[in-house]
Amino acid sequence: MSSRSIANIRSVTGIPTARLVTWWIIASEIFIFGGLLVSYVMHRLAHPEWAIAAANTNTKAGAFNTFVLLTSSLFAVLAHQAADAENGKKAAKFLRLTSLGGAIFLIVKGFEWTHEIKEGFVLSSGGFWSFYYTVAGLHGLHVLAGLIIMLIIASDAAKNRDLPRVQCIGLYWHFVDIIWIFLFPLLYIAK
């Protein structure tokens, strides 16, 4: 017996409910990150001297992390492809690889931040650093949350259960990837 409400099973728009919810979540997240990034961009444009602080970000680590997220996005969409082919085990494998990418991202960030804090650059070290830690921190929280949800969905998918959710968590993951695609030049290249 399905514990789903009838409302959940219907689909008047044609888009399955879970995916519809994912798009609305992404829309609201665009506003949250957007508000933060708009605030940052305005300040950064008005304070060219922040380039001095920004010179201290680790471009190599940022570039590596970008590569890691792009690759994890690849695994996420391959998971979707596998789920479409009703291959739950394969989808779970790819989802777990995606989560691994997320974990590597966070570990690299951990090293990055540890080094920067040791150098004396903390949250209150000035305008640039306040934004840097806040924006990247918020993004990192989303990576962590996505990673955890992804592992839960992977364990269901391995049993061929709830396969449509694979696509939904993939959508969320691609969104988190796209945010980083913009964070990378903003925080690491625009110096």
Binding site: S5, T13, L36, S124, T134
Partner: protein, 580 residues
Amino acid sequence: MTTPATGAQAHLGSHGDEHAHHRQSFFHKYLWSTDHKMIAMQYLFTGAAMALIGGYLAYVFRMQLAFPGQNVPGYGLVTPGKYNSLVTMHGTIMIFWVAMPVLVAAFGNFLIPLMIGCDDMVFPRINRLSYQVFLLSAMVLLASFFVHNGAFGGAWTSYPPLSARGAYNLTPLGASLWLLAVALEFVAFLLGGINFVVTTMNGRAPGMRMWDIPLVVWMIVLASVLFMASVGPLIAGAVMLFFDQRLGTAFYDPGRGGDPLLWQHLFWFFGHPEVYVVLLPALGIVAEIITVFARKKLFGYRTVLYTTWATGILSFVVWAHHQFIAGIDPRMANVFTITTLLISVPITEMIFVYIATLYGGSIRFTTPMLWALSFIAEFLIGGVTGIFLGASGADIYFHDTYFVVAHFHYTFFPSAIIGMFAALAFWYPKMFGRMMNETLGKIHFWGTVVAFNVTFIPLFITGAAGDQRRIYSYALFPEQDKPGLQHLRELSTIGVIVLLAFQVFFLINFFWSLRHGKVAPENPWLSNTLEWTVPSPAPHGNFAEMPTVYRGPYEYSAPGRETDYWPQNQPISPLEEAAL
């Protein structure tokens, strides 16, 4: 023409039987429920309890304003610091913990699945979670009253540097708890709002096109969309403010490279759409009530819908009219004046549509109808006085005076309070299976509305005469310390006391009718919408057999029919089909 259901949905009709046989324990039925109707009740009762607290706070600070320096019965002495906390918490509680939970969450939860013909929300457990997060937020906020130095005293708008530095606002712990409570409330409403939107988009009964959705459902959905879009930047801003308060950052500190105006912009980018989040459900409630009690079709369903969409979009480009004298770029003040005056046009059009709906109708002055009509009258005053404030030139004088206070109470009170009483009076039979007492209802109505006007009309006058906001005693300001003005302030305070006193009639009516009210039939008001086709109170699972929809919600007094109403789920008879 709508076509009847395909066979695909028919087999789901037996779902209701499963619910009927499924007995629930007290814990599951009342505390851990995923039933949208129970969650609605939880939001309703929490919101109502917070309303009593918010009303009490208003009583206290109005007593201070009428009799400065004297002990307020039931509170004590109001110091300047306490005054700041009182007005801050009054505003915060009323907007975030009364207006939104009652209008959007309670009635959205209760009405949407019933009115669109399904059994629950698309994600009932997320729905339950949203209430739990909301309850947590209320507890965090109430806890802030009891910490060292008490609740936050930096105004509900929480401008830095006042809100960022404990040395300035004197309530550092309260300030951070306030921020935390508001952030949790935002999360709760994001969770709930997405449920509403997706349920309405995907969960509709077969045959219900976009134009067959009752207006109140549209309004709550649009309110949820407005909320979701506008709150994002403020969440970002709130994180930044929290860091300024606790972690030594300088996002809003001009002395260290930040900008306090950034907070103002982020706050009002949310703050203005927020008032439409409160207004839209009230407009929807009024639309439902006036069509039923005028026995008349809504004058222009699509017109109202299109103007609401226009209002929603426009509401995102008017925000800086709250900041005209904050030092913003005067060229932007020009832009925002134009957009603000523009936005009065679609709202006015909706009011005219409502009046046109009433014109020539067969009007019955039941309690819900009285509330709905008073909404139109009072909101009109609020809207018209907004024009003065929307023009940046006039606003130079009026900003931060009691004129503003009176204006927004003439918009908020009709939306949040009158809207709440209207909706309760109208849907009480469906919620609780009993009819409310009409006599008590009418006494409550007249007392509330008259007292409301006695409270706020004097404030237009004192505001125009120069009374500034957030001043705990005018005895300190010679220009304002005049007996004429003081009498008006006293009159306003008497109004508030009478207003609060009359709520006793509502409480008696509400609780007495629960047990002793007349047992309510399925459709006491002879209304068309789907919630009136199920028993009163609505059962778990809502519909024994999922309905199919054949027409719009406002087919009242359709020519050639025996009855003056035409429920949405009544199939078209062959005779009627032939006549078309």
